[in-house]
């Protein structure tokens, strides 16, 4: 449970992060860019956290929502004139994936359990990628779509939006967890049959978690679309947009609400440093670190501090 002191502490930390661009030049400083990407990943990791960490459904298809969010942004720009960083466009970029999550979640979540669900979401991601490649006239096919890059003026809107998304995602997680919804989700994660027996409408809660995660992920896709200005299926429906947030969530500590953030910041940092210092062999280093972390820090970085104080029973933790 969180108390007022912790809320104060978090507020101070967020304010400090918001002040970073005032100290450093956002245009030329790499640390700002690193934080921008880390915050984006943190938000996506939280999205995964909701569906997997708290509800226990391992979704391997987050990249479907990410790419869809990006394309919605492009279409909003092209067809509805909702341009650069338009809030309505971004909200739509979150809503459409959320709706897809509900539509596809209905059959997927009601019929499939565990690994079958994971495989199904993986297939979903791939199918969207292939459809968008085939979609030629509408989606630009494999050539993708371009946004007018002249709209770029400064790094600042990206930094603050990413920070906002990370905070938003964490607040959403916090609110869910503190509420009855969170209790229901955790109950479903621990023992689905018992939860159902206790009158919890399992499918409804699962859909809620799935679509909330999709919403956040879609928003992140929109942000990346504004950043890269070139949207095409190979990039935006790539599996790394699913795998990295999962890594960060699990290594940070899934099922907690600070875990994904710590995981995102730490892992992004490690990857960046590896790329700067060891450009040729950095994936070997990253791969090895991932393996070591999974083997020796099975409950995530965040639980390092709590060993011995809190038991390994996850149901007792928030």
């Amino acid at each position: 449970m969180i108390n007022q002191r912790q809320i104060l502490a978090c507020t101070i930390l967020i304010t400090a992060l918001a002040c970073v661009p005032m100290v450093l030049d956002a245009e030329t400083n790499y640390f700002v860019y690193y934080l921008f990407m880390a915050f984006t990943y943190a938000a996506m990791a939280q999205g995964f956290n909701i569906i997997a960490g708290y509800t226990g459904q391992v979704s391997l298809g987050q990249h479907a929502f990410f790419g869809l969010g990006a394309y919605v942004t492009v279409f909003a720009w092209e067809f509805a004139g909702l341009e650069y960083f338009n809030p309505l466009a971004m909200i739509l970029s979150g809503l459409v994936p959320a709706i897809l999550a509900i539509l596809i979640g209905l059959p997927l979540l009601s019929k499939l359990r565990g690994d079958y669900f994971s495989l199904g979401t993986l297939g979903l991601g791939e199918i969207l990628r292939v459809i968008f490649i085939q979609g030629r006239a509408v989606t630009g096919g494999s050539m993708g779509k371009y946004l007018p890059s002249g709209s770029y003026t400064s790094m600042l809107p990206y930094y603050f939006t990413a920070l906002f998304l990370a905070v938003l995602a964490t607040v959403i997680v916090y609110l869910i967890v503190r509420s009855r919804i969170g209790l229901a989700l955790i109950a479903i994660r621990e023992d689905e049959t018992a939860a159902a027996a206790n009158g919890i409408h399992v499918l409804l809660y699962k859909l809620f978690a799935f679509s909330t995660g999709a919403f956040i992920t879609g928003l992140c896709g929109s942000l990346q679309a504004y950043y890269l200005f070139h949207i095409h299926p190979q990039n935006f429906f790539g599996l790394s947009w699913t795998l990295f947030p999962i890594l960060m969530c699990v290594l940070g500590g899934s099922g907690t609400f600070a875990g994904p953030i710590i995981g995102a910041l730490a892992l992004s940092g490690v990857f960046e440093l590896a790329k700067i210092w060891l450009p040729g062999i950095h994936p070997i280093i990253s791969g090895t670190l991932i393996i070591i972390a999974i083997l020796f820090l099975p409950d995530g970085l965040i639980r390092l501090k709590f060993k011995g104080i809190i038991s390994k029973n996850r149901a007792g933790q928030t």
């Binding site: 400090a16 050539m143 990346q224 890269l228 790394s240």
Partner: protein
């Protein structure tokens, strides 16, 4: 939770943040000892193999200019050696952009050399524009690049319409009885494949050719037997294909297995690598490929560069001249600019003519683009003979022999 620990934790995080901020904000004021040139190449991932020649050519160009002591930069009053900094684009456009950011912000490079392939070049050119750093690009399709109106990059590549005309010019250069009568066009479903497909078909009309079969080629497919069967049924005897090297190998092997004989097989992108030849051996005899350059070009240093490569890798290249020449242009431009400032380098590139490179004399247009010739070569006994442009007393392109006559 203890009351104190919350603020202790906060204090810890704030301290870490402060340290990182200060460290990254420190400006390293150093006296100039070298010219920093960055490049976002794919060192890992599925494009890594295709970018190897580019990397090697860059490294050779840097080594060669440094052997002469470097480039004379008037502003610093002396010759400065070049340092090439390669950042891994990880075969992913988003990561290529991140690599550019790293090069510009962390390594603080003076100018940037091209990354690899259209869908990396366009986003990285956008990055160059964002931070107003000069980006010396190649390996990008010209039309989509031009559409973006980049201010801070230039492009040195071939004209796609000229390249698309080459197959027909090669066919026309073959003896009449060797020419294919029924052509098929198979383009992979990617940015480059689609663009080329459109160009090939437009040029086909101009030259009076028609395609009996027009289909996309699935990327990374492990089996083309259905498609080959269709070609066999239609009696196709000439194939124009755009695909990756592994796919082309699979395709040709299956052609042989099913007994589909063609007189003319012209591959773009996938048939020029020596690895393609290694996988097929005598079966590759007569297959045509596209190219950027030939060591048989009558330009200074071309043959020497080609021989150097052949000695090191025991195979020949039809691309290194482009990348080496690209570097030569940049070195000359830096010298003419007399400065390491991106704006001045850009002006120097746009306003000068560059002579004596391994790929000829080059001049950029007002639209920031310079064009070189797209070539065609034919595999003959493990060497890429130059089929186009047709040199006096040079190679004569012939038809492929049927499988059972080899």
């Amino acid at each position: 939770m203890k009351l104190k620990s919350d603020f202790t934790k906060l204090g810890f995080y704030l301290l870490v943040l402060a340290v990182l901020t200060v460290v990254s904000g420190t400006v390293w004021a150093a006296d100039r000892t070298e010219i920093l040139i960055g490049t976002p190449l794919p060192v890992t991932g599925i494009l890594a193999g295709a970018a190897l020649e580019q990397k090697w050519a860059y490294e050779q160009a840097v080594a060669d200019i440094n052997k002469k002591g470097g480039i004379f930069v008037k502003e610093h009053g002396k010759k400065l050696p070049v340092k090439l900094i390669i950042a891994d684009a990880e075969s992913d456009p988003g990561k290529a952009v991140a690599a550019m950011e790293r090069l510009i912000k962390v390594d603080k490079v003076d100018a940037l050399l091209s990354g690899f392939t259209t869908n990396h070049i366009i986003p990285t050119s956008m990055t160059a524009d964002k931070y107003k750093k000069y980006y010396h690009a190649t390996t990008c399709l010209v039309p989509p690049w031009l559409e973006q109106n980049f201010k801070w990059s230039t492009l040195f590549f071939f004209d796609i319409m000229q390249s698309a005309a080459v197959p027909y010019q090669v066919i026309n250069s073959m003896p009449k009885e060797d020419r294919p009568k029924k052509l098929a066009i198979l383009m992979e479903d990617t940015i480059d494949g689609r663009a080329f497909g459109g160009a090939f078909k437009a040029q086909a009309e101009k030259f009076g050719y028609k395609f009996s079969v027009d289909e996309p080629m699935a990327v990374g497919a492990k089996d083309y037997s259905s498609q080959i069967l269709k070609l066999k049924i239609k009696g196709v005897d000439g194939i124009l294909i755009f695909g990756a090297d592994a796919d082309c190998v699979t395709f040709v092997r299956q052609m042989k297995e099913t007994g589909l004989n063609v007189k003319y097989f012209h591959g773009y992108k996938g048939t020029w690598a020596h690895e393609f030849y290694n996988a097929l051996g005598p079966d590759a005899e007569g297959i045509l490929m596209d190219g950027f350059w030939s060591e048989d070009f009558p330009y200074p240093g071309a043959k020497e560069l080609g021989t150097r490569y052949a000695k090191k890798f025991d195979k020949h290249s039809v691309s290194i001249g482009l990348y080496y020449g690209l570097c030569q242009i940049l070195w000359q431009a830096i010298e003419k600019a007399g400065s390491l400032d991106s704006a001045k380098i850009r002006e120097a590139v746009l306003n000068n003519e560059f002579k004596g490179t391994v790929i000829g004399d080059i001049k950029y247009g007002d639209n920031h683009v310079a064009i070189h010739l797209s070539t065609a070569h034919q595999w003959h006994k493990g060497y890429q003979e130059l089929s186009y442009p047709i040199l006096e007393g040079g190679w004569k392109t012939g038809a492929m022999l049927p499988w059972n006559e080899r």
